[in-house]
């Protein structure tokens, strides 16, 4: 009698196992297929990216060579230094020239960590940080490599991707946010720490600020201001 009971139990277990194995094999087949498609897609995107990066390097080299030639041509043609200085000033103001100088580097990590509740950085947080740096007299600001100009908008695309100058600023490696500012280092540091740093830390983020001589890239978008004389 006990033997019969045992056999029934084992038969039942075997049945369930058989069912599970079949199910698993089926799932595995689907998963493999999915993985293959994803790998293909990732590979084609990486290909695009590699091509774009190669093109980027070529363009940069070409750009630099031309700039050098042009600076020589300007020097030879006797463009007045005063005029050139004025042009430099306006270009620093409209953000179309890369600038360097003493400033601060802010890094913000809002990724979840163990035993720590972290509220992610919002678009409003970013706007507030930019505003505080402006108040602290920053002469140039960038967020993840995007130069902040007058017409810079910070908006959310979807639920988490932030667009700055209409470009997604998601970083593939390192700390999620790196903000650079040029100006009076003490003032930038104090204003940022007092007004922004403390509350960001309270939200659980890891915030670091260091003094550094920084280089801030130029604005790469087009200016919204139209030429009133153009057709």
């Amino acid at each position: 009698m006990r033997k019969v009971k045992l056999s029934i139990a084992i038969a039942f277990v075997a049945l369930v196992l058989g069912f599970l194995i079949t199910l698993q094999m089926q799932t595995q087949k689907n998963v493999d297929e999915l993985e293959r498609i994803q790998a293909q897609r990732a590979a084609s995107i990486s290909n695009f990216l590699a091509e774009a990066q190669k093109e980027n390097e070529e363009l940069k080299a070409q750009h630099q060579a031309l700039t050098v030639q042009l600076e020589e041509a300007r020097a030879q043609s006797g463009t007045s230094p005063a005029l050139q200085a004025e042009l430099d000033l306006y270009r620093m103001m409209d953000g179309t020239v890369a600038v360097q100088g003493p400033g601060i580097v802010i890094t913000i990590d809002d990724r979840a960590q163990e035993h720590k509740l972290v509220l992610p950085l919002s678009d409003e947080n970013l706007l507030s940080i930019i505003n505080t740096l402006r108040w602290a007299g920053a002469e140039a600001i960038s967020v993840n490599g995007q130069r902040i100009v007058a017409s810079t908008a910070v908006v959310l695309s979807g639920t988490s991707t932030k667009l700055v100058n209409q470009v997604p600023i998601t970083r593939t490696e390192g700390v999620p946010y790196e903000i650079l500012a040029i100006g009076d280092q003490d003032q930038l540091l104090n204003y940022f720490n007092t007004i922004e740093g403390t509350s960001l830390k309270q939200m659980g983020m890891t915030v670091n600020v260091t003094r550094k001589t920084v280089q801030i890239p130029s604005y790469k978008g087009t200016s919204p201001v139209k030429d009133p004389n153009a057709q």
Partner: protein
């Protein structure tokens, strides 16, 4: 346990199979990590694509300028053209055109004794958000209470007043923007306008949007000096 030998073997086999199943299940649960990697790759692809476009544009401009020099054109004329453009883009010229005018004001029926007085007034954040949205909607130029918004303009609340471009501003706050009216309006509607509408209903803050028939005039901003930043010279790097 008192099991026959056969039973033990079967249990071992069953255990092995179960283990295998678990591992493959865990593996299949892991597969979405590749999707997020694809997302960030797409983001950097857009970034680099935009930079390449800009570089191409720049290169064309540089070539044109260089050609003008080589043709022996008046060098200062070339520089003057660039000067005009940079001045315009920096916000140092007046801008006139169609656009929108938004007025925000504190609630007239606020009770000073009320603990929630903050809900009845206009905060710097509201102005900042509206300005941000108007830029997103393609505004050419923006002024708040006649102060042109430039790259370094702060909109900062220091208690009794809001400081805008180093001037003290009191309510009502009039935000004017020149640009494509339908784009500006749809950007507003999409992002923040409705929320302000809620505050209007609940606390009585003033929120109006006008589309004037006469052109809006945004005044020129004032130039400022750079004491810390200097341009990066390409030639100096080589």
């Amino acid at each position: 346990m008192n099991l026959p030998k056969q039973g033990k073997v079967m249990l071992t086999v069953a255990g092995l199979i179960l283990g295998f199943l678990f591992i493959s299940l865990i593996r299949s649960a892991d597969t979405d990590s590749t999707t997020t990697r694809t997302d960030t790759t797409v983001a950097s692809l857009i970034q680099i694509g935009q930079e390449n476009d800009q570089l191409r544009q720049d290169i064309v401009q540089l070539q044109e300028e260089l050609a003008k020099f080589q043709e022996g054109q008046n060098a200062s004329k070339v520089v003057l053209e660039q000067l005009e453009k940079a001045k315009r883009n920096a916000g140092l010229t007046k801008v006139t055109g169609p656009g929108v005018r938004i007025t925000l004001d504190d609630s007239p029926d606020r009770d000073i004794e009320d603990e929630d007085i903050g809900l009845y007034v206009i905060h710097e954040e509201y102005i900042r958000r509206i300005v941000n949205i108007l830029w997103h909607g393609g505004a050419e130029a923006i002024a708040v209470n006649g102060q042109r918004i430039m790259a370094n303009t702060e909109i900062y609340c220091s208690g009794a007043f809001i400081q805008i471009g180093q001037t003290r501003q009191m309510p009502p706050y009039v935000i004017e923007a020149v640009g494509d009216v339908s784009y500006l309006q749809s950007a507003l509607n999409f992002y923040f306008w409705d929320r302000l509408g809620e505050y209007q209903k609940q606390y009585g803050i003033v929120r109006t949007l006008e589309i004037p028939t006469e052109p809006i005039v945004i005044p020129a901003g004032k130039p400022y000096q750079f004491r810390h930043a200097e341009p990066v010279k390409e030639a100096a790097k080589t």
